[in-house]
């Protein structure tokens, strides 16, 4: 099947917007055609820009400047009415902003000693159950979970043992939030460690090492019994773990793929179909993948304990948009196939992926 055949999903570049700052993260504002770009201006301050999609162009609605460059943001822990943005900045501060009144944050804490590399939120947007929580992962090697109702101290803190030399945490993700008590946090580190923390039992549930630094982890859905986890790393590799069956020694079954010669910066699952996800690479390319489940998802090993069986991956489409890494990617939760990506060539692009409903 050639890439031009009409049955395959096509990635159509809808709008391109040049920015005057480095964009680190871009997010759709839920229930709207607006998107946010977060980044760092040349003079070392943080920038938040709110755009609205008008036909074939993006209209800048609002620009907010903050003292420190902003690395990441999420709407995951906010309600649909409020739509507050939680951001992590280069100084280790976690802030939650009301974009209508952005002068003073609704919540602010100096959560980490170094830059917050990654942030995720759960419990908001009408998805899932349980308290809204935000998790931040930082270069200081710690992963902290915050509840916006509790000031100053995190509700969970995953930190290195005393005396252990720290490893940068590069990415965090929530998962398994299918009822009010259950939550897990998955964290990826720069030495290839992936750790799964169970917040109900406050313990380490699983860990593994994939040899190369982990750039991005994401569960296919945060609010269901954990199903699949994708972890991307340097040198073009990513792993898809089947999280339904945990073997006592072998952990979770996985399938891995080496796709792009360069780092895979982000993975994002399609909100409307949890078996389709897109990876963005350091060579400025996007790959659209589909996961196919095996005939039997679990089997018994020689001792009789259950172990998972990993499925297979097929590449649906790939496209190269830029010469610089595409560092951030976000699907719109409201319109299937609409996504925004930000690249280090100071451009944000709105893309439409067609025919996803036919897969």
């Amino acid at each position: 099947l050639g890439p031009e055949r009409p049955e395959r999903p096509q990635v159509v570049s809808h709008v391109q917007q040049a920015l005057s700052y480095t964009v680190f993260d871009c997010k759709w504002v839920p229930r709207s055609a607006r998107l946010l770009c977060l980044g760092s201006a040349a003079r070392g301050t943080g920038v938040v820009q709110l755009y609205e999609l008008h036909g074939a162009r993006l209209e800048l609605l609002r620009e907010i400047e903050k003292p420190k460059p902003i690395k990441c943001g999420t709407f995951g822990a906010t309600s649909l009415q409020q739509r507050y943005l939680a951001t992590g900045d280069f100084d280790g501060n976690l802030n939650i902003w009301n974009l209508e009144a952005p002068e003073i944050p609704v919540y602010s804490v100096k959560g980490h000693k170094e830059i917050i590399n990654s942030i995720d939120g759960v419990g908001g947007l009408g998805i899932g159950e349980g308290a809204p929580e935000i998790v931040t992962g930082s270069r200081d090697g710690t992963v902290k979970v915050w509840d916006p109702r509790q000031n100053d101290t995190p509700v969970a803190n995953m930190e290195p043992v005393q005396g252990e030399s720290k490893r940068d945490c590069w990415t965090v993700a929530f998962g398994n939030a299918y009822n009010q008590e259950e939550r897990v946090v998955c964290a990826g580190y720069d030495n290839g460690d992936i750790k799964l923390f169970d917040l109900r039992t406050m313990s380490l549930r699983w860990e593994t090492n994939i040899k190369n630094g982990v750039c991005s982890v994401e569960f296919d859905r945060k609010d269901i019994n954990m199903n699949k986890l994708v972890a991307t790393s340097l040198e073009g590799k990513f792993h898809v773990f089947d999280m339904r069956t945990q073997h006592p020694t072998k952990g979770f079954a996985f399938v891995s793929e080496k796709a792009q010669k360069s780092t895979i910066w982000q993975v994002r699952h399609l909100p409307q179909n949890r078996d389709i996800f897109m990876t963005s690479g350091g060579s400025g390319s996007l790959h659209l993948w589909k996961y196919e489940y095996p005939a039997q998802r679990s089997k018994k090993d020689l001792e009789g304990s259950k172990m998972g069986v990993a499925g297979s991956l097929s590449l649906l489409q790939n496209v190269t948009l830029s010469t610089q890494p595409i560092s951030s990617l976000d699907w719109s939760p409201d319109k299937m196939g609409l996504c925004v990506c930000g690249a280090y060539d100071q451009t944000v692009r709105v893309l439409i992926v067609t025919k996803l409903n036919k897969i």
Partner: protein, 422 residues
Amino acid sequence: MPLWLREHSWRQTLTAVYLSLPLRGARATPANIFCSEQYLKVSIPPFLFEAVLYAPIDDTNSTAKIGNGNIFFTLYKKEPAMWDSLTLANADKEKLQYLRENAVLKAQEKAKEETEAKKITKQEHKKYALEATMKLEEAERKRIEDLKEKERQKVAKELELWKNQQKDGDKCKSIQAKEELHQEIEPLKERKNEKRNKTRIPNEGGSKTRPKSTRGCSCSIFSQDLKEEQLPAPRAAATIKVNFTPRVFPTALRESRVAEEEEWLHKQAEARRIINSDLSELEDLKEEEKNPEWLKDKGNKMFAMGDYLGAVNAYNLAVRLNNKLPLLYLNRAACHLKLRNLHKAIEDSSKALELLTPPVPDNENARVKAHVRRGTAFCQLELYTEGLQDYEAALKIDPKNKIIEKDAEKIRHLIQGTMPSS
């Protein structure tokens, strides 16, 4: 001498000459026939037939048929006229020769022209073919572009549609919610006050008065309060301690110089295992005194206390047990420096540096110390240039060390100070 074929027969019409030539058993191919405007030759070794024709003929259209032991020529005359004879009767040898040569030349020219013409036509055909393929590919590309364009437009239209729907939806909802709020705010306020005054009414009462605007997009304080009751309390704070995958070298795969590091590790492991066990005086030593590590620690302690001679003894014994541990030499060099045994200090630092190959980040500290100690020894022996070399080597490994920098500067000044006078 060729055999002349003379038994030919011919007849003619106004426009053509028909010549029949029996071959007497020889086999003819087109290559044997040579014909030009006025000269005809058939050469099948050893047979030869030639004729200088009475009048010029049109040699391109004339034909020769080979078969039945016979060649049958059909020669079309250039000028329709009756020939007196087939050949020129009064042709002398020279004329014949001239005609022959002429004929050959003409034939050659013709052949050249023909090849030229063929080449040209071939090129034209090629060009044509190329253009045709290019056009096809262009068409294909255009078709794909059009498909993509169509997709784009379709998708853009859908997007607009969806966006407008969103906007309208939002507007409706907000208007609705505002109205409802206005309606409900007054009675609810009263009820809330009542609730506060009485003791806690069971939740059912609260749920009945829940305003309908929770499904709308604007919020009221009432809806938020009630919603908070449904959320669990913030988690009890706890800490989970993590360990990271141990690696001897604290760099990720991409940064490590694996081969060299492996070598260094191997060397270290080897060194630790060596025990020079063939020293008979060791019999009366205690068990722990035979352990080079323990002896090194003892030496370090004595150095810290100021007992340099004792430390040297400890290191000496350790070296006798295991002469491959670089740190022993390094520490002994420090002792010798303190004891002003400068030559021995230099020796030991050099030995330590020898053992600290290959240079990897793990033994950086040790190498810096070795260079500094050797540099100091050189300077105290007033060999400032050698000393400076060592200090600069140390600085190369650890450029951020201010003390080394300062000392290196001092040595430089000393050298410059002593230069003019010496």
